[in-house]
Amino acid sequence: MPRVEHGWVSVFFHVIAASALMFLLLPIAMMFPLSLEPGTMLRFPPQGVSLHWYSDYLKDGAWIASTILSFQVALGAALLATVAGTFAAVGLAQASPFVRNAALLILMSPLFLPTVVAAVAIYGVYAALRLVGTPLGLVAAHAVLTIPFVLLNVQSALAGAPRALDEAAMSLGAGPVAAFWQIKVPLIRRGIAAGAIFSFLISFDEVVIAKFLSGTQAVTLPKRMLDGIFYEMTPMLAAISVLLVLMNAALALLALALVRGARKDT
């Protein structure tokens, strides 16, 4: 039972909150019935129950190619962002306040600034370097975009690995490299993993930068979906949406469990 501390205000807020949650979840929930439509038109309720849009998606070469590309780009971006972001988070903890603030301002800026501006800016440079339409170009751009998420997760994990532990390791004869791998990394591995997952998720779903940098050669899954929504709304999009919702929910839950576990450890 909710604790009714504010009388009717509390009751009123519970009603609004329930409606707002419906509003949040309704569009996602809609994908499930829409994807089961046997016909070619989106219909609710569906005319029957069929999984053929799922199998059509899995048999469609272009869609599968985009899906594989998205996995490759997201894995690459996550790897790059996780390595660079983890080192950076450890470096931030050692840096003087001036260096720390300056570095944080730079490294966190992709999080706060409008993605469309970043996309246009990077597009300008990539066009000159002939990187538009290359998977590598997407990997690098997405890595930059997701470094803040790795930083945030690793930084909060570092709270469970105080400097005194490094000092203890060093006093016992471990050099900086040994202390990093034997003490630091094991203690923050959950934060690193959570950062990597969030980084993967963001890259996998990213569409604004992909729209500019995909060109005709490197069309990611979100870019292909964007085109699909513009030009032909079929139940296949609903089927793909269901698969995306399930994958994202599973990965996000895993990452949140890692974050929670890391908190319990300390």
């Binding site: 469970g160 105080p162 005194a164 532990l165 000092e167 203890a168 390791a169 060093m170 006093s171 016992l172 004869g173 471990a174 050099g175 900086p176 040994a178 034997q182 003490i183 094991p186 203690l187 450890d265 300390t266």
Partner: protein, 361 residues
Amino acid sequence: MTSPNPPPVASAVGPVLAVRNLVKRFGKVAAVDDVSFSVAGGTFLTLLGPSGSGKTTVLRLLGGFETPDAGSIALGGADIGRLPPYKRDIGVVFQRYALFPHMNVAENVGFSLRQRGVATGERARRITEALEMVGLEGLGGRAPSQLSGGQQQRVALARALVFKPRILVMDEPLAALDKHLRERLQDEIRALQRRLGITTVYVTHDQAEAFVMSDIVAVMNAGKIEQIAAPRALYEAPRTEFVARFVGDSNIFRGPVNESRMRLADGVLIAFAGNGAPPTALMVRPEKIRIGKAGHQNAGDNLLQGWLIDMRFLGDACLYRVRAGAQEIVVRDLNRTDSAHFAAGDEVILTWPAADTVPLS
């Protein structure tokens, strides 16, 4: 500065650790300001001081976690002041133990041996030995979080000693424990230190702890060592007002000095046993003063008349606050069967020998 009293143990070995003119600044503040001391082999030296006095910074400089701005640290004759921590061969016990939470007790203790490439069998033997030494046999498989505070403290000690470091340094290792456990561990650490004969530098802000454990105590204030001496010498003959006040309770007198007497503001003369430069202040410990009924004759070079402001009964003793002229004087009178009892307002006389009046500079 070397100690005026030679340490009781192993002084023949000569200084194992020699710190010369050590300086460490953080920004404009000199946390450690020209500190020098040396520690003879097997000696237990404590850096005692209030928080912010620089004692922990000295320890961190010894451990290699900070780089000195000036000065040298010699260990066994070789300068280690600029060596990284992992090449110093110094065992460190940290304030909150700093046990590795992802390793069990045995892995924690064996960490230094693994870094040094000690073979598995030999390592296991030495881990067992170290755990026995601190009374934790059989607990090697436990996680640090499954241990009590006192047990964690013992693991930290075993971990710092297992690789046979040349010296042991400890930073307020007992601060997180309750009073009873703290006193027991003081005895244990002291006994272990004597048995191993390991040169130890210990940091605490607790005067009683410093006295119980140490051969030599260095009192630190504002980045400097005020005085370095054996506990008794420090207590009986503090050189500065800071030491007098920080170590034990004290009554401080001020006034112009003429030969071996000081004239207080109200004209009363205080005798002291002085030889050397005229002191800036005089100090007498509360328990050195005898309190008696007015008119009753008491022997003593110093005799003050006054009246009792109040009395606090401590059980083993009574603490009297006495107003004598312009002075307020604290007297500690042991609770003996024949001790006289006084009440607030009583007229009393205070007496003590000149030898118990300590000149301060």
